[in-house]
Amino acid sequence: MSFLSFLSQPVSLSHYLIVGAVLFVCGIVCMATKRNAIGVLMGVELVLNGAAVNFVAFSSPFLRADSQLSLGLDGHLITLFIIVLAAAEAAVALAIALCYYNTHATIDVDEGDELKG
């Protein structure tokens, strides 16, 4: 049975990268389709997490054969910076969304077209 044989196999680096790619594409589609400003923000969070999953996977020395090429602690530190910058970005974007809501009485990003030429 193929599922049981998959369970007996060890996980390689590309399995983690597949998860990162799925998160990234979900975030891109979420940013492109959502009309809610908070929904667009959630897409950005998904994209950042996809990148962070890739960094953590590349920094693990046990997931690939040439383990001396792994990022090691650098990948962990970059992931920490990604998490902190995502928190900062969420705070500023929420403040902007609140201002937008106060002036437009809606959160639909299609309504913000005053700068249209």
């Binding site: 590309s14 799925v22 009309r35 999953v53 953590v56 900062a88 437009h104």
Partner: protein, 207 residues
């Protein structure tokens, strides 16, 4: 013989991907926020599994505990009535689905196609869970001392020993500036028109 790393990987990776797809597919913004919380918590499990224990704990504390609570507050403050679920036209869905599918195919073919990333030689012998003692090296790295690079014999690779003190300081100041700016942007503004009962009530835009 079940490989436990693979089993736990599936246990965390499948909810991550499913809840991420649910974030995209759901139209209700409150439901999107809940799916995003579940997805990012499962990502923290993946971090633990890859040996990044401190990063996984920070993912749970800062992301799931802080950022997403902030997002839920934003949802509660802004979304009400008909704007809870804004409809998206099917043409938009089609275009975004085509572009996203093409991007996914490109990424997956790149990920699976590289030989060094799909080889499992090390993973069969060494359990990744034993790698998880990274708190002290991470703290010293943020202070500028790379204790994990001290045994590095190659002098060209020793340049990586410079540490992360400057990015740490920049991120600290950046976080301070950003939080002050966010508090300034989101403050309750005094209205010039005294007729509105509450100072935080939204203005009605004239069509």
């Amino acid at each position: 013989m079940i490989n436990w790393h693979t089993l736990f990987f599936l246990l965390f990776a499948v909810p991550t991907c499913l809840f991420a797809v649910a974030v995209v597919a759901s139209a209700n913004v409150v439901r999107m926020a809940m799916c995003l919380i579940a997805s990012l918590a499962a990502v923290a499990g993946l971090y633990f599994l890859a040996g990044a224990d401190f990063v996984g704990a920070m993912q749970l504390m800062i992301y799931v505990g802080g950022t997403l609570v902030l997002l839920v507050f934003g949802v509660m403050l802004t979304v009400q009535g008909p704007s809870v679920s804004l409809k998206i036209s099917s043409a938009n869905w089609l275009m975004a689905g085509l572009a996203g599918g093409a991007l996914l195919i490109v990424l997956l073919s790149a990920v699976v196609g590289i030989e060094a990333w799909t080889s499992k030689a090390v993973a069969e012998t060494a359990p990744a869970v034993e790698a998880g003692h990274t708190v002290a090296p991470l703290g010293m790295g943020l202070l500028g001392i790379r204790v994990d690079q001290l045994s590095q014999q190659d002098p060209t690779l020793r340049r990586g020993m410079s540490g992360y003190l400057l990015p740490f300081e920049i991120v600290s100041v950046h976080l301070l500036v950003v939080l002050i700016g966010a508090a300034h942007l989101a403050r309750a503004k005094r209205r010039r028109t005294a007729s509105t009962p509450a100072t935080t009530a939204p203005l009605n835009p004239e069509p």
